[in-house]
Symmetry: C2
Subunit: 384 residues, 2 copies
């Protein structure tokens, strides 16, 4: 198992075997190893013969791959299955889900960085957080390091890797190209953490991490868009099970798209009527306080309508079947979500997009932490 | 070479080797065969040693693959290269670009189906067309068959396949799920043509065909959106070099997305302010005639602004770097295109999307025919 290299291999996985490069025997071997791991990860308690049947690989290939995986500490023998037929009973195998732990970090909250230790199933076994206290630049990076250190110190088994969901625009090498609130411009966070901790590190945009979590643990389709609404508004897009990054790694940056043709409030970016002026949580709370309880539903519906107006061309162009919202349930679920989906349906082709669904994430506030774990699982083991 | 099966293999190519299926030796072989063909297709006049060096395959593998390709009639030996160094001169190889011909059909025009014979470079060697004369349903299919027959009759070398760009929503099996103007609902056009002509047939949406042509022959990025403006308005999206089809094969159906929040004309679909009410060529011409020459620039700019308003969320969400327009140059190029790109830039994040470019296709009216040829090249040879 690779335990020192840091790369966004997980994201590239679906695109690793393209016609532009030759297929080497080691590609096939790595691919087939992931296939065995994936089978055990999804199903558990399988014999070598079961795995061969389910993957289509030969018994000989499966046995050789399993021997390596046992030697790496990733797979364990559970004992023999009770057989109803005569003959030697099969030995059952499973992924050793407690053999490694993953450090997940969520840097998307405005005042606090939070982190967790997660097992290979994405279950959280320990938590930690640090107050940001207005830190920016290198000082904010030191807060990240301190948070990771707290979690590393708590780990009692080897660390498979560190996954980080960061606000802003993040390239495929884990460099945060732009995160204005943190004062990061070209901050090589992945390399810094890799050098400090000596384990694989994967840094991605928080909404991209969130959509991966929703796909692995929340039942999202392999074509889905997750809208993360907090201090800012961003989207994570999964197309054919692969996250979309965009030509400058800025895919999903919809918070500063102008919505409608009837004006709107002036945005921090200088434009008028950006999606965030209607929908960011601070703006939404401010508007709710200004307008009072009587207008609560109207304010929430208006924000939902603006989200629907912004999303309609995206749903139409991509033919998405599912949109997922992540953020404060008490604000998003209810009139806001209802107005969003109504607006979406009213502004696209009923024949094809009338069945688009919109729902809240089922993963609550841990969605970025769990997405960060998926990045490590996918990058290091090829499973998710 | 497969010459009887019909499938959209070309579109699936980039996704053929995913972790969900094992890598068999024949996958690697097919993949490496495409790699050799692709090298010759792009560069031409290469020796076996050149190909080995450029692909990273061994000399032995390349020689075996080349022998098969020569036997299939796809590759020819050109004679020996003049060598400056001592030793046996290398034999140069090339794709035999005139060994096969492709039939391309464009069904996207309102009153005429047009078709062409194209060589493996996408060069058109013969043309044909049939007047639609109001035909719909089975009668319109018979027009397609008659057009294909005219072209097949003109071919003097074997036909590699038939590619068809159709209006409407087309699934991956070449069934036209919905093309209202032609009265097609679930029309299995690909199977019908395959049964009639006994060669591989690939049917896809016209805008999807067009974006493939622009990528192969027009210099488009591997992340690009092509907007095809004619009787209707549709988009073809290429992400990572792969066309996007969407959850119900309706990706790119943006013509009936409502634009803006200030009303607009009533659309044929019943909604008000759909993109097509501003931008379809019949609507645009009608508005130009109503308003007179003095208002020509204003009318064209307004249509361009509406296109920019509709595209801004898509450019933001996907972080596209390039948008390409296809349609009547005299209407689209100039004030309309200028207003579109200005609007796009004004309504997205300057930092990331300010450099988005917009241009007319360089392929003119033949874009769908040439895209249909790319589908066949990609599906049958794995080259494009």
């Amino acid at each position: 198992m690779t335990t020192t290299s840091a790369s966004n291999a997980g994201f590239a996985h679906g695109r690793a075997l393209r016609p532009s490069s030759k297929v080497l025997p080691e590609h096939a071997r790595g691919h087939n190893r992931s296939l065995v791991l994936q089978t055990l990860y999804r199903s558990g308690r399988r014999s070598r013969a079961d795995i061969a049947r389910e993957t289509g690989l030969t018994r000989v290939t499966v046995s050789a791959l399993v021997a390596d995986l046992i030697a790496d500490g990733l797979v364990v023998e559970l004992g023999q299955r009770e057989e109803t037929r005569p003959g030697k009973p099969a030995t059952l195998l499973d992924l050793d889900r407690s053999a490694f732990v993953i450090v997940g970090l969520d840097l998307s909250e405005h005042s606090t960085f939070s982190g967790a230790l997660l097992d290979l199933d994405g279950t959280i076994s320990a938590r930690a957080e640090v107050a940001l206290a207005g830190s920016t630049g290198e000082a904010a990076v030191e807060k990240v390091v301190a948070l990771a250190q707290q979690l590393v110190d708590q780990a009692t088994v080897p660390i498979l890797g560190i996954g980080v969901g960061s606000p802003g625009v993040v390239d495929l090498g884990g460099v945060v190209l732009s995160a204005p609130n943190l004062g990061w411009n070209g901050m090589p966070l992945q390399s810094i953490l890799n050098a400090r901790f000596g384990v694989p590190v994967l840094v991605a945009n928080d909404a991209n991490a969130a959509v991966l979590a929703e796909h692995s643990f929340g039942g999202a389709d392999s074509d889905a868009m997750l809208i993360k609404i907090g201090h800012g508004v961003g989207a994570g897009l999964l197309l054919g099970g692969t996250p979309l990054f965009g030509s400058r790694f800025a895919a999903g940056e919809i918070g500063h798209v102008v919505v409608g043709t009837d004006g709107g409030a002036v945005c921090a970016c200088g434009k008028r009527g950006c999606l965030e002026t209607w929908l960011s949580i601070p703006n939404l709370i401010e508007r709710l306080e200004e307008e009072g309880d009587a207008a609560r539903t109207a304010v929430l519906r208006e924000a939902g309508e603006r989200l629907g107006i912004a999303l309609a061309p995206v749903v139409g162009a991509l033919d998405l079947s599912e949109v997922i919202l992540a953020g404060p349930t008490e604000l998003l679920d209810g009139p806001l979500a209802a107005a969003t989906v109504e607006t979406l349906r009213n502004r696209t082709m009923a024949e094809f997009h009338g069945s688009v669904t919109l729902r809240m994430t089922t993963l609550g506030q841990d969605i970025v932490l769990r997405g960060a774990a998926v990045m490590v699982l996918s990058g290091q083991l090829g499973v998710s």
